[in-house]
Symmetry: C2
Subunit: 581 residues, 2 copies
């Protein structure tokens, strides 16, 4: 049986940490050699971390990244190393180096550059035009990058036609809900329609607004998953590929008709890799992990929760923080954030602040204490009454004769923001904000108040999903980590007596689907109404979303988990008189 | 003499205000008809405003824009109307419609799409591939869009080869320092090398971080400017073009050698516009403005000041505000912002807040009062002492035994931020922040403190330029609008006794060129040191810039005036371990 042992190094590099990334890559090359792998692959832009954004405009950064590759090259012995970096020729390219015996054998340039959603690759890179195959003894492989594999008529087509039996596709593909299933389906189709083994390697880790889920996949020529990398964790997936199965190659047809290759590249060329005699011999049986076909990925709520945990963990860690501080109100959002923070950072690294005002109910205080007890985190109480009074005194003259309004409500939120920031400044803690996507969408949040902080864990999590995640967490743990009353009671900001969210907003089970239709699906007013929602309510929601763009522009980054998050993913003008109704 | 009368409608549309933009366009068509113009041109994306950003992802918005064009079409009588809009076919295109006699004669699609700096055009548009010419009786014109004209081998080449005597190039080209001169130089070269009359039309107005300077130009076949639109104002430039001069066409050579057309388009086609017999007859002499060749554009400091005035005016106006409130410290930044605000909005619409602490010097208070008197604006005084004390009381327990540090300094700035926001909430005023680019670069600003507000007027203005602008303003006015002492005294945040900016930062005349080299010119540590700066100082500055990205991400928008502003223009990761030294 002809076999090829591939190692998929699903690593978590840090953007800009060339030195750290190189030593991690070298470390994984060593592990892969130990496992007798023939090939070890690293993710897209593993050398620089992904996305490096405007670091790519700095010549020195590009040079340093090329030098980093040279260091890696020195560690590529009798193993083929495929690693993502930035190649510099006349322009710069999103590239995959193929290294063997301390030599740079070839560099592949990504052909399809994504320039939508969070991606700006045309801002930096030129698209590639070659799709070579590499002959390794009696087998042949093709390499391509991320977006390339989504195109049926992309490089995979010319590579398999030229005889590739294995396609190594390296990625930096960020997580969003449902994407892992979509991806798996597409990859399975791509493998089977080309009758080729597809080794899909994804990066893992959090980077600002993005979290990469890992979850690398090896799919055989029939489209079945034969191995699966961990989700939201580093992993080294070592698998023996049976090349004999690929022999039965059928002509490639797409959607029943035979298609011509259309990708904007030159015809595939073949590059010989002069492997040593010993190269294909060593196959140690240990270290090989073959995952059965019926292996499943995590269920959806678990995926989301893990995405939030990893995103939070990496933001805190990679930015040099250790401890986070959270304003706890006794509500669902702050309770969930505390739970995520504890799972990400450990009990010792999470501090709660309770900042009651005269409008804070005894139940809220009880719930904060119950939560803190369940999570075993420390809480400090800083009442805001006297500070609030001192502001009101100062405003007596200038605001004379004017009724109390949203000004005084926002003021309380802003005092709390200041208190949190004072603790952050004094102790070097990072403030996690607790607002959810529903609030962020309609502007039901106070700028410099509850929006003040370094990282917004739930920024892309709608309120109804906050409840689902709490229920999932409680049922997973087998006890009420988050007190039941937190979920049962009516949501309130407690900024005036008897206040409820529904005074201002539609109930969340109505609000959230409207928001999703408008923000994620770009549906217009009429289309949303035709889904069965009240026209006045829809108009009101759309108007609130549009009017609060200025708040979102000043919000801290948070973790993208939906089809479209606020931040780099949704670039809306603040000054905008368009009303789509 | 064969002449063609063109009207250049240098208008200020508002993003998303399709109805308002259409009625403005129709209004200018009427004016142009009255002036007996043969052709009236409107800027790039005049129908939608520029840049519409992710509004372009909404189908309904694209449809509404197409319908808006149809309304305009109904007003195109015996005059050729060229207008920028979004064309929808299989994809969407950044397009110029050519309308005549209520018919859409043709649509040109922009070929070169900018995807750098503030531009994301590949995110939305497909590039065009046709560069037709339009035959109008005995003359022939070509139309193209913005970036197209920057490419010597772009559509202008095939259009002039196909016989175009006039090229109408419509733009939405944002202002930055020095760009008007660069643009003029390039346009002059492009006109003379193609021996063609070049009618360059630019949009005008502020849109979030951008300000468009208008300053349309008509350049004859010899490369001389024959007419110039106003800078930073709407204008209708009506000019008779002498087509006989163009007859003397010489073969196109670029850089001494003859070049082939290389733009990725099809060969130029000729489209006949069946003009009426009367079309080329009417030439009324009035309304025609011919500007002498030696006419100059504004001097640099005036341009910058006017850019800030228009940017502020349009942000306030287009977002539905009337009055702005500014925290006045007696320093240079807030004094300049007040002066700009008064010039933009009028004395009645500017309110100053003086918020003294125990560290506020008597001189600062005097300077605030002197400035307010000079500008004739109202000021309200809200001392922050008692509020500050009430915070300190609340922190006695949790911060016990810890020395006073940056926490207490930030706290004062944050109290001021809260006070400003309370006035904003109570009276519906927009807060203008006063921080400059030097501070914003190194993070010498308090998040939620002096950074709190809706619009950051000086966000892209380095401190040394703040002084230059003050001097320019004072000398222009012929009196000290901004008191002389404001410029002479050492800059201080007055957050602790005797504090000076130079305690933390290098002097601004050293800091600013380092920042420019690093941020605008992407120079690396070594290159900056080689310019003659102290290595330790450069390292320190670079490190401060990199570390404060998280603050900038939460800052309000401000007006881009340099080569590279913070915001959409510079997309840097927060999580970033790269140190280029």
């Amino acid at each position: 049986m002809r076999t090829l042992r591939v190692a998929m190094a699903q690593i978590n590099p840090t953007v800009g940490d060339l030195k750290g990334n190189v030593s991690k890559i070298i470390d994984y090359i060593k592990k892969s050699k130990k496992a007798s792998a023939h090939i070890v692959a690293f993710p897209e832009l593993a050398v620089t971390g992904y996305p490096p954004e405007d670091l790519l405009l700095k010549n020195k950064f590009i040079e340093d990244n090329v030098n980093a590759l040279k260091k890696i090259q020195m560690h590529a012995g009798d193993i083929i190393v495929i690693v993502g970096y930035v190649d510099k020729k006349d322009y710069i390219y999103n590239a995959a180096a193929l290294l063997y015996k301390k030599r740079l054998i070839d560099t592949y340039h990504k052909i399809f550059l994504p320039n939508y959603g969070v991606f700006d690759e045309y801002r930096y890179f030129k698209p590639g035009s070659r799709s070579p195959v590499y002959r390794i003894g009696d087998t042949c492989i093709g390499v391509n990058i991320c977006e390339d594999i989504w195109h049926p008529e992309g490089p995979i087509l010319s590579q398999t036609r030229k005889g590739a039996e294995v396609i190594v596709n390296i990625n930096a593909s960020p997580y969003s809900i449902g994407k892992s299933r979509l991806r798996e389906h597409m990859l399975s189709e791509r493998a089977s329609e080309n009758a080729v083994i597809l080794a899909y390697l994804n990066i893992v880790g959090g980077q600002d607004e993005l979290v990469f889920d890992g979850h690398s996949l090896i799919i055989n020529q029939e489209g079945s998953v034969i191995a699966r990398g961990k989700q939201f964790e580093e992993d080294l997936l070592v698998v023996d590929l049976n090349l004999d199965g690929v022999k039965l190659k059928k002509p490639y047809t797409h959607g029943k008709r035979q298609v011509a290759t259309k990708h904007p590249g030159k015809p595939a060329e073949t590059i010989e890799i002069p492997v040593t005699k010993t190269f294909r011999k060593a196959t140690v049986k240990q270290h090989v992990r073959l995952v059965p076909r019926d292996n499943q990925c995590m269920e959806s709520l678990q995926e989301i929760y893990m995405a939030l945990v990893l995103g939070t963990f990496d933001y805190v860690r990679k930015n040099g923080f250790r401890v986070v501080v959270i304003g706890l109100s006794g509500g669902a959002d702050s309770s969930l954030v505390a739970s995520i923070a504890v799972d990400a950072l450990g009990v010792k690294n999470v501090v709660g602040l309770l900042m009651p005002s005269p409008y804070t109910s005894p139940e809220s205080k009880e719930d904060v204490h119950a939560l803190a007890k369940n999570l075993r985190i420390k809480i400090t109480e800083v009442p805001i009454n006297t500070i609030f009074e001192s502001y009101l005194d100062s405003f007596k003259q200038p605001f004379k004769g004017m009724p109390s309004d949203v000004t005084e409500e926002n003021l309380q939120a802003r005092i709390r923001g200041n208190v949190l920031m004072a603790f952050s400044n004094k102790f070097g803690w990072l403030v996690l904000t607790t607002g959810n996507k529903s609030e962020m969408s309609v502007g039901y949040a106070t700028l410099y108040g509850d929006m003040a902080g370094g990282f917004a864990v739930l920024k892309d999590v709608p309120k109804t999903m906050v409840y689902e995640l709490i229920n999932w967490k409680n049922s997973k743990t087998g006890r009420q980590v988050i007190p039941d009353r937190v979920i049962r009671k009516a949501p309130t900001a407690e900024l005036r007596p008897g206040q409820k969210d529904t005074d201002t907003l539609p109930p969340y089970h109505i609000l959230d689907p409207i928001l999703r239709a408008y923000i994620e699906d770009d549906k217009c007013f009429k289309e949303i109404v035709s889904l069965g929602f009240n026209a006045k309510c829809v108009r009101n929601v759309i108007s609130m979303v549009d009017r609060s763009e200025y708040k979102r522009r000043q919000s801290p980054p948070g973790i993208k988990i939906t089809q479209r998050a606020f931040g780099r993913d949704r670039r809306f003008p603040i000054t905008n008189k368009y009303k789509g109704y």
